[in-house]
């Protein structure tokens, strides 16, 4: 018994000792690395980081190959002479010879027609092989739940071609107007219930439908939507021949179930997409293997940092520590990996990069041109205005195909002509290396932190703490870095999205545009003027007022204080103030509306007053005895002493003035009454840019207004917006890190009374 008690006592004493010194005895003795070990572990870390980098680059290159390899347009001629144009993707290991074999398979593809009959005859039809049919049926069933695309019917000389788009209504209407000018009759069918039910294939009815010149005659009830199979090789029907050309295009027009927005056009058939997806999954597996390896390494390292003795008294505790270390390292690295996935182009390719995004107009223009070609015109022109910016043009026999970049692409015989469509859509090699270097550095940082905190008593808590704070920092800073990265990216490339914290294609063009824009310069000038004048006036008056209110002998002091402080609680509200400024004072559309109403803030006054009150009163007393008046006391004694607090308040006021936008919106949306120039501030200018973008991005707004907004916000504007954002935030971002302590002091001062 007594022995037990004693042992307990000693343990408690040990703990106390530890608590006081904060470093466990065992850790101090057993775990401290000597210099050699330290050096080697650093070398090890660097090797690890470099290896990791290489591995990731390798892994990415391998796995994403099917996605990034050049896509090609193939002009395929069937045995009966009918031409088809198809985009093939040779990276799905379809070699040329194999592809010829595939042509046969392709001719066996059937025309699948889905008809949803109703008041308007709505069709959707495409080419697919028989074994693909269940896949499509499945996807239709899914799509039936989604908001469904609209169908555009293009009519040319009695022939009707239907297009399925997911373009926004405004886009479609614009396109239709455009096509009308070209003399192409367009019927626009808003399709809401396409393929609401997919029944068993009914070849006869579909064929019958197709052979009818007028679809109306086969109009049936909504329930009888049918999925039909039609033999494509029937070339006697000119309509089928024409449709074959169009539909072979439709076969690779896969519409992504997106909400509103663009038509998405993917490269491959479903099979190809599945291949791509599998490749992506493989890549993710590799990524996860890397993560696991990293965690293991972190564990080993943690183990190295700890005692080599495992079977000591603190064994249990140490094991716990090791586990915690492992867990934290896992969390950190997991976060890093996710960030890298986010910033990783290759991962997004399946979803966002490989689909060529058309907007409605381009797409229907394509259709229009194709229709013209079928109607007997000689030249077929395909504009693939996808976002890499290459267009492909084909001459009358389909022989010369050239990219719009000027390169005439070599032609083959007609049956297999391949045109390289895409550039390497991966990001620039050097940037990728830098990005991985940055990632590797982060990993090194994690280990350095591990190393740094190795003497902490409760390592687990510290690690947890540091990990959480790191994650928080990432969350806070990521949007800012992301915006900067976008602003330095090339416009059309940025529109594809998926940019992380490093630009994919570096370009300073958006900044050049920003600097050229006279409106922005004007706005910047207004902003700067507003900020400076407001700050100076505000400080001038507020400082003096605060000084007078600290003088105990000032007879009005009490009353003024009450009146001032009450303004913090009593507020007339927006409308009376609005009337006062715009009607009574008539300050609308003048520059002074920025200055005059913002000249006083009670909070700032209190901050300054608190500071002045903390100064020794003897300063004032002795100056008074020397015969100084209050002006002199303030300007020559108090004011210089107040420099820190005045700087703080000046920063608050300046930031407030710089960041305010509502005054512009309320009072100064028109040109100045005095100078005739616009009075937008930078913030308001930015708001205009963002508002247009947000509207087109999130909400289909069918008004004419919205369509002009849409027209304004073209795809490349995301870089422009980012650049304006950066310019607007720049003064603050540039100044803030250096002046941060002033802000914090001010906040602390204010909180004394606030």
């Amino acid at each position: 018994m007594s022995i037990e008690i004693e042992s307990k006592g000693t343990r408690a004493m040990e703990q106390d000792k530890r608590g006081l010194k904060d470093i466990p005895e065992t850790l101090r003795k057993g775990t401290r690395m000597n210099k050699k070990q330290l050096r080697w572990s650093i070398v090890f870390m660097i090797i690890l980081a470099v290896g990791l980098m290489a591995l990731m680059i390798f892994a990415q290159g391998k796995a994403s190959e099917p996605l990034r390899a050049a896509d090609q347009i193939a002009l395929l001629r069937d045995a009966d002479g009918a031409e088809r144009i198809e985009i093939v993707n040779n990276s799905t290991s379809i070699q040329l010879s194999e592809h010829e074999a595939k042509i046969d398979e392709a001719t066996q593809r059937r025309l699948v027609l889905i008809q949803k009959s109703g008041a308007n005859d709505d069709y959707w039809f495409f080419v697919c092989a028989e074994n693909e049919l269940p896949v499509y049926q499945e996807s239709f069933k899914k799509k039936a739940k989604d908001p469904l695309p609209a169908i555009i019917a293009l009519e040319s000389e009695g022939d009707q071609i239907l297009y399925v788009t997911r373009a926004q209504d405004a886009d479609i209407e614009r396109s239709i107007a455009n096509l009308d000018k070209q003399g192409i009759k367009v019927t626009y069918l808003a399709l809401n219930k396409l393929a609401s039910s997919v029944e068993t294939p009914d070849a006869e009815s579909a064929a019958a439908l197709l052979n009818d010149d007028d679809g109306d005659e086969t109009a049936e009830d909504g329930e009888d939507a049918s999925l039909g199979l039609v033999d494509l090789s029937d070339t006697s029907n000119p309509k089928i021949v024409m449709m074959k050309t169009m539909l072979s295009r439709l076969s690779f027009l896969q519409f992504q179930p997106k909400q509103g927005g663009d038509i998405m056009l993917t490269r491959g058939t479903d099979l190809e997409k599945q291949v791509a997806k599998a490749a992506m999954q493989r890549m993710n597996v590799i990524r996860w293997l890397i993560v696991l390896a990293l965690i293991a390494v972190a564990g080993v390292l943690a183990f190295m940092l700890k005692s080599k003795k495992i079977l000591t008294k603190e064994a249990a505790q140490q094991r716990k520590m090791r586990l915690i270390t492992l867990a934290v390292a896992a969390v950190l690295l997991g976060v890093l990996i996710f960030v890298s996935i986010l910033t990783n182009n290759a991962t997004e390719q399946y979803e966002h990069v490989s689909p060529y995004s058309f907007n409605g107009m381009d797409e229907t223009e394509d259709a229009a041109e194709a229709v013209q070609a079928e109607a007997g015109e000689e030249t077929v022109t395909f504009h693939y205005n996808y976002r890499n910016g290459v267009s492909v043009v084909k001459d009358e026999n389909g022989k010369a195909i050239r990219g719009e970049d000027g390169k005439t692409i070599q032609q083959d015989n007609i049956t297999k002509m391949f045109v390289t469509l895409s550039e390497n859509t991966g990001r620039n090699g050097i940037f990728r290396v830098i990005e991985y270097a940055a990632m590797a550095l982060l990993v090194i940082m994690v280990f350095a932190l591990l190393y740094y905190f190795r003497y902490e008593r409760d390592l687990g808590f510290t690690m947890f703490n540091v990990a959480i704070l790191c994650v928080l920092m990432i969350i806070t800073i990521y949007p800012v870095l992301n915006t900067v990265a976008y602003s330095f990216n090339e416009g059309t490339d940025a529109a594809r999205g998926g940019i992380g914290i490093w630009p994919r294609k570096f370009s300073t063009k958006s900044y050049a545009d920003v600097l050229k824009d006279s409106e922005i310069l004007r706005a910047a000038e207004v902003s700067v003027k507003k900020t400076i004048i407001t700050t100076v006036l505000n400080l001038f008056w507020t400082g003096m007022l605060a000084f007078t209110l600290t003088r105990k002998e000032y007879v009005l002091g009490k009353y003024i204080t009450v009146i001032m402080v009450l303004t913090m609680y009593v507020n007339a509200g927006l409308i009376p103030n609005y009337l006062l400024i715009s009607q009574t004072l008539g300050l609308r559309n003048t520059f002074w509306v920025y200055i005059i109403p913002t000249m006083f803030s009670c909070f700032n006054m209190i901050v300054i007053r608190t500071y002045i009150a903390s100064l020794p009163n003897e300063l004032v007393e002795s100056a008074r005895i020397d015969g100084a008046g209050d002006f002199r006391i303030y300007w020559q004694i108090i004011f210089p002493l107040c420099a820190p607090v005045l700087a703080t308040v000046a920063l608050f006021v300046a930031v407030g003035a710089w960041n305010s936008w509502f005054d512009t919106m309320l009072y100064n949306t028109e040109k100045s009454r005095v100078t005739g120039l616009r009075l937008d501030t930078l913030q308001y200018y930015l708001k205009g840019k963002l508002a247009g973008a947000a509207r087109s991005a999130s909400q289909a707004n069918n008004t004419a207004d919205a369509s002009t907004e849409l027209a304004k916000s073209t795809t490349s504007e995301i870089t422009m917006r980012s650049a304006v954002t950066v310019v607007t935030a720049l003064p603050i971002l540039a100044v803030y890190p250096f002046l941060q302590r002033y802000f914090v002091t001010g906040m602390a001062l204010g909180s004394v009374k606030g």
Binding site: L20, Y569, Y578, A729
Partner: protein, 335 residues
């Protein structure tokens, strides 16, 4: 001694004459010059507009437009007929979308989300920061997390809208989809279910770092002996946090909580105005936004002023109530 000195004073020094109020003021003319301009300014810009509340009791609406004279608007609007409390009645019976009562519900909901989660997040972060021993690391974290406070709402909302919440290319959708949390893209901005939480999230992102300052300064005020004593008694990190740190910031917490409750109707309108879409118009409208839209856009001055007064009056009640409670709890008075 005292008697002697008094006698001395009575005998030797001339008796100090008590100056009158205006005489003193005259002597202090320099102080007057320094302070009275601002006094007049405040009286004109902060108190004079209170007269504009009279508009709430008058029939000024788009259907009954009054010519507002530019010189003395509040007197000239006397042309409009008084309509008693009609505007206030209209507030609660209006058919506007969003309605005023809906706006109040929205305001309260967003305030509460902000209050609860914002405070919790700030306290948590402050505790974590307080536990960091390494000065440089601590300062770095602080610098980074304070940053968003200084970005304007336009920038913040713009970043959120275009880079993160955009249903097509937004990072959030991409992340969630790559993690397999959601199967198809979610229209965050267009769906009214998410709006309040989005506002809360953005607000917390922007302000959480800044909100820690006051708690951290409260924590630095805690006597280090308490920590030492606790650790001698065998308290671990968590126990020290629970039993020393948290009680140490209790009074700060209470004061801030009461103050925030006093300002619960002041969610403002910036973020809501910037973030709203046609689909979320109804849940986005706060009292301030309601006032702004009816007053400055629809020119429905009577109704808007009434809404403003309603808010101000409730705010005054809340503030005095908060002040009272704070006094009763033995904390500092707020005013």
């Amino acid at each position: 001694m005292t008697t002697i000195s008094r006698n001395l004073g009575n005998g030797l020094l001339p008796k100090r004459k008590k100056l009158g109020f205006f005489q003193q003021l005259g002597k202090q003319w320099q102080l007057v010059v320094m302070s009275v301009p601002m006094l007049l300014y405040v009286l004109f810009f902060n108190y004079y507009p209170l007269w504009g509340w009279i508009n709430a009791f008058k029939d000024i609406s788009p259907s009954n437009p009054q010519k507002i004279n530019t010189l003395i608007p509040y007197l000239r609007t006397g042309q409009a007929a008084f309509c008693g409390l009609d505007n206030f009645k209209l507030l609660f019976t209006d058919n506007n979308i969003p309605s005023f009562s809906q706006s109040i519900v929205n305001t309260l909901a967003m305030s509460l989300i902000n209050l609860v989660f914002g405070t919790l997040a700030a306290i948590l972060l402050a505790i974590l920061l307080n536990e960091v021993r390494q000065k440089t690391f601590k300062r770095t974290v602080q610098t980074v997390t304070y940053l968003p406070h200084f970005l304007s709402m336009i920038i913040v909302v713009g970043m959120a809208q275009i880079l993160f919440l955009d249903s097509d290319n937004g990072t959030i959708n991409q992340l969630l989809m790559s993690l397999g949390v959601i199967e198809k893209r979610v229209d965050w901005l267009g769906d009214r279910r998410y709006f309040w939480w989005l506002v809360g999230l953005i607000n917390i992102w922007k302000e959480v770092g800044w909100g820690t300052i006051i708690y951290i300064s409260a924590m630095t005020g805690i006597d280090p002996c308490l920590y030492e004593a606790a650790s001698i008694d065998g308290a671990g990190r968590m126990q020290r946090i629970i039993h020393v740190t948290l009680p140490g910031i209790r009074s700060t917490f209470v004061i801030l909580l009461i103050m925030n409750i006093g300002h619960i109707l002041d969610t403002g309108f910036e973020i809501q105005y910037l973030l709203q879409t046609p689909g979320t118009m109804e849940v986005a409208s706060t009292v301030d936004l309601y006032v702004m839209q009816h007053g400055t856009q629809n020119q429905d001055l009577g109704l808007a002023t009434a809404a403003g007064i309603f808010k101000s009056v409730i705010a005054i009640f809340l503030l005095t109530g908060a002040n009272f409670i704070s006094k009763r709890l033995g904390e500092d008075s707020l005013m």
